[in-house]
């Protein structure tokens, strides 16, 4: 089943988040998880032999509604992708600051919280 493949993508990302020691690779694994989630959402909204939900002047409304794929998950995934970029920027800024403070990317060596 094809949904399980996208679940596999999410799980590979989750494994990467839990196992890695380098904080930059944790960020990259989070990015992989996000990709998996977006893929799953768009897979759910697919209609077999469907066309994209954009009309042109020659389609009638009823046959368009019977043939197009679901526009709602696409809209939500679109906003989610742009938000993902903003979150990635915030995470990378945090990583840069961590490197400036501790001199390393290694999570097991960042032991002290600064008040």
């Amino acid at each position: 089943m094809i949904y399980s493949l996208s679940l596999l993508l999410i799980l590979v990302g989750l494994y990467g988040v839990v196992v890695n020691r380098n904080v930059m690779k944790i960020v990259l694994s989070l990015l992989v998880m996000e990709h998996g989630v977006h893929l799953l959402l768009i897979l759910i909204g697919y209609r077999a032999e469907g066309r994209p939900p954009i009309m042109d002047a020659t389609t009638a409304a009823t046959e368009f509604a019977a043939n197009a794929v679901d526009p709602l998950p696409q809209a939500m995934v679109l906003t989610s992708i742009v938000i993902g970029l903003g979150v990635l920027a915030l995470l990378v800024a945090l990583c840069v600051r961590l490197y400036q403070r501790y001199g390393t990317f290694d999570v097991t060596r960042m032991r002290r919280l600064r008040g």
Binding site: R21, K25, V77, V92, F105
Partner: protein
């Protein structure tokens, strides 16, 4: 059609495994880019051109940001795994979630029949049928984003704004007016 999509997803999974496992940070970044581009092709095949455009553009920008952030900082490539107990816990967690998820997906309808075919009151049916008539835009995804679900767009704009303000606040250089005398600590206003 579904075989092509399945092969592409398998390629994306292979790239994701490279992201997680390799010890070189640059290879990981490039593989994340590969996952993103494969995903854009899959979106095109699934009939979502708007999402594909955004995915490619965002992937390019995030690749540039990531490469800039990781070059020159990998002085000691501190990659590696956690200890053995951590590994066992991680693998158990992932396998448990995987089995649980497969159980959920076994109840799903098969690939290709979406929600709106089975539930007549699904909002997507209304959007597709009356989208052009009530909003005047042939692009149903834009109509959904900016007319039917415009609150979500407002929320997204807010989140993006806050994230950028957060980056501005985190990466602020040292204070122009030194506080109290010692310049070695960060300024936190």
């Amino acid at each position: 059609m579904i075989e092509v999509i399945a092969i592409l997803i398998l390629l994306a999974i292979a790239a994701a495994i490279i992201v997680v496992e390799t010890t070189n940070l640059l290879f990981s970044v490039i593989s994340v880019g590969a996952v993103g581009f494969l995903l854009a092709i899959i979106f095109l095949l699934l009939g979502a051109p708007d999402v594909a455009i955004v995915q490619i553009g965002v992937e390019v920008i995030s690749l540039v940001i990531l490469v800039r952030a990781t070059m020159g900082r990998d002085v000691e490539p501190a990659v590696g795994r956690r200890d053995f107990v951590g590994m066992v816990v991680a693998v158990t967690l992932v396998v448990a979630i995987g089995l649980f998820g497969m159980q959920i997906f076994a109840d799903f309808p098969e690939f290709g029949s979406s929600v709106m075919e089975r539930v007549a009151q699904a909002p997507s049916n209304t959007y597709l049928r009356e989208g052009l008539a009530s909003t005047g835009t042939p692009n149903t995804v834009t109509a959904v984003l900016l007319d039917y679900r415009a609150y979500d767009t407002l929320g997204e704009v807010t989140v993006l704004f806050c994230a950028v303000m957060g980056v501005l606040a985190i990466l602020r250089r040292k204070a122009r007016v030194p506080l109290g005398g010692d310049d070695a600590t960060e300024d936190r206003k």
